[in-house]
Symmetry: C2
Subunit: 333 residues, 2 copies
């Protein structure tokens, strides 16, 4: 139990040290975000804020569980989580790197992004199928749903979907980092409570709890630099790392079906994007003029253009996330 708390503290400390080291370096290398042309106009002032800050939390997220696992890696699940974090994180890193070095707001082409994601997802889904099994916990019941071999394609969809949803949620200072902080903290409790509930090996899940604790501490440290007014953005390397870590924890704890609840913020980001584009195309085809449901998608930009301050949007998303996580935890405690 105490090991989890030290994981939080250590990851936080590393992020705090890396921030002042990395940020001036990213600035010097001109790794400033080239603000997405389709974002809100008010974001133009953010031009020049360095991106790729996700490295600040990616390093402790990966290093701390390894450091604290010294003396014996007891969990077969920790490698899955680490590979997922690093794998998706690397796709984001390459994307960011291209954006920055070519000074354009689009890095990899959609195809170049999706293919490695699908490959990583396939590997992880098969690995989880073989080591975790094919059951998923059904929300708010004690039942489990055995998908059999369909577990693999379903999990691939969840993996790719979550990682890209995390990416979409990263659009306001401190939004993704704040929401994921709460998600990781929640998953600490899930990892601690799950073994007793499902008669699993608690030592294996303790390692996962340490992983989640480290992720929470790392993201909390990163928020030092990312709360409004942000002095660094996490970039795709950050959002993909968070998405990869979170979905991997959900996968090995069999709680993937809880993701739309505890990570509702990510879920609605994707959903609002899909609705916006779908409705626009539909109305354009029907009437000739495309109509929009939201002022701008993903949803947080809709609120922003409605005049809500960024800090208020972050509060709203974090508060809703916290309450949904608490309600979800009633399943476990």
């Amino acid at each position: 139990m105490q090991r989890i708390i030290w994981a939080v503290v250590l990851a936080f400390a590393i992020a705090m040290v890396l921030g002042p080291v990395f940020i001036p370096w990213l600035k010097k290398l001109k790794f400033g975000q080239t603000i997405y042309d389709l974002g809100p106009q008010s974001h133009k002032v953010k031009q020049g804020t360095p991106t790729m800050g996700g490295i600040i939390f990616a390093v402790p997220m990966i290093a701390v569980p390894l450091i604290l696992a010294v003396g014996g890696l007891r969990s077969p699940y920790l490698p899955i989580a680490l590979i997922s974090t690093v794998g998706f994180g690397l796709v984001g890193f390459v994307d960011d790197y291209i954006k920055v070095s070519k000074k354009r707001s689009l890095g990899l082409t959609p195809m170049q992004k999706i293919v490695p994601q699908v490959v990583i997802s396939a590997g992880l889904a098969v690995w989880a199928y073989l080591s975790v099994g094919s059951k998923l916990i059904v929300p708010f019941t004690s039942a489990e749903w055995d998908l059999g071999v369909f577990y693999i394609p379903v999990m691939m969809f969840i993996l790719v979907g979550t990682v890209n949803s995390a990416n979409l949620l990263d659009g306001v200072d401190g939004l993704l980092s704040g929401c994921s902080l709460i998600d990781f903290a929640t998953m600490v409790i899930v990892c601690l409570a799950l073994p007793a509930m499902k008669s699993l090996n608690s030592a294996e899940y303790l390692d996962m709890a340490v992983f989640c604790g480290a992720a929470a501490g790392a993201v909390l440290g990163f928020l030092r630099f990312n709360t409004h007014p942000a002095s660094v953005f996490m970039g795709d390397v950050g959002s993909f790392t968070i998405g990869g870590a979170l979905v991997a924890v959900a996968m090995v704890t069999r709680t993937s079906l809880l993701l739309p609840i505890i990570a509702l913020a990510m879920f609605v980001s994707s959903l609002s994007d899909i609705i916006q584009v779908g409705y626009f195309k539909y109305t354009k085809k029907k009437t000739g003029a495309g109509k929009r449901v939201f002022r701008m998608a993903p949803l947080h930009h809709h609120f922003e253009l409605g005049g809500m301050p960024e800090t208020r949007i972050v509060w709203m998303y974090m508060a809703v996330t916290a309450l949904l996580c608490l309600v979800t935890l009633t399943m476990f405690i």
Copy 2:
């Protein structure tokens, strides 16, 4: 366990409903904060933001534990916590009311404030002495320190000190509400873990955990209106309510000596004020010209005048509070 989570959700919901009801009403009654003349210049823009918003969280903090205790109040400690919350809150309310109705930035005179505080503290300290006993847990040990009858004056000092420290911490949007949110969440865990540790009645402390959960939920809801840019200030009614609730929980869980750690933010606010005033008087006497240690006291104004954005100050205080609370929890779990 689940009762605590529902307390959080219910208190949050009540605060969310009260906000839009109270804030326009406070504005209409011209309960705008008359900004303290000695505060930072930049705060002048906040003139007109309504104060006394503390009522928004005070109501659910008091109502929710009572609602959820229906069917039998099992804890002799809950009345202590409620009386402390209401008692100190009322002193703050009167202070605010005078400020607002007389349109001046000082309400009650220092003596008019301190006398009722001392009276309430004396009553609570005696009550706790008789029902909780005279022992205090020594930080980071399993030892308890039996103060005997000296418990009463020591506890009175802690009560008055904490309530006024909470009042001092309330100077930046979302600062006291954010820090106390973490403190109340921490005290939920303390209330749950303490009985097993000290062989106490867990049902009695479960009621206290519900109280802390309600306080956390209420403050989280209030943050909707109080995060930067704040649409309402909590006022003295808010800061005294928070201080009274927190110190009462510490008192009945015998963890008063942990307050300088988990509520370090409050502690340093008082300490920096004392240092500032003391050093000024000392240097004035010695050299004829008073010198200052901080740009402005309490400490958060020092950071603010140093150019740190309000949101960053709140992050810093909340992050330090969260880490100190986690480290403190290693004593209990």
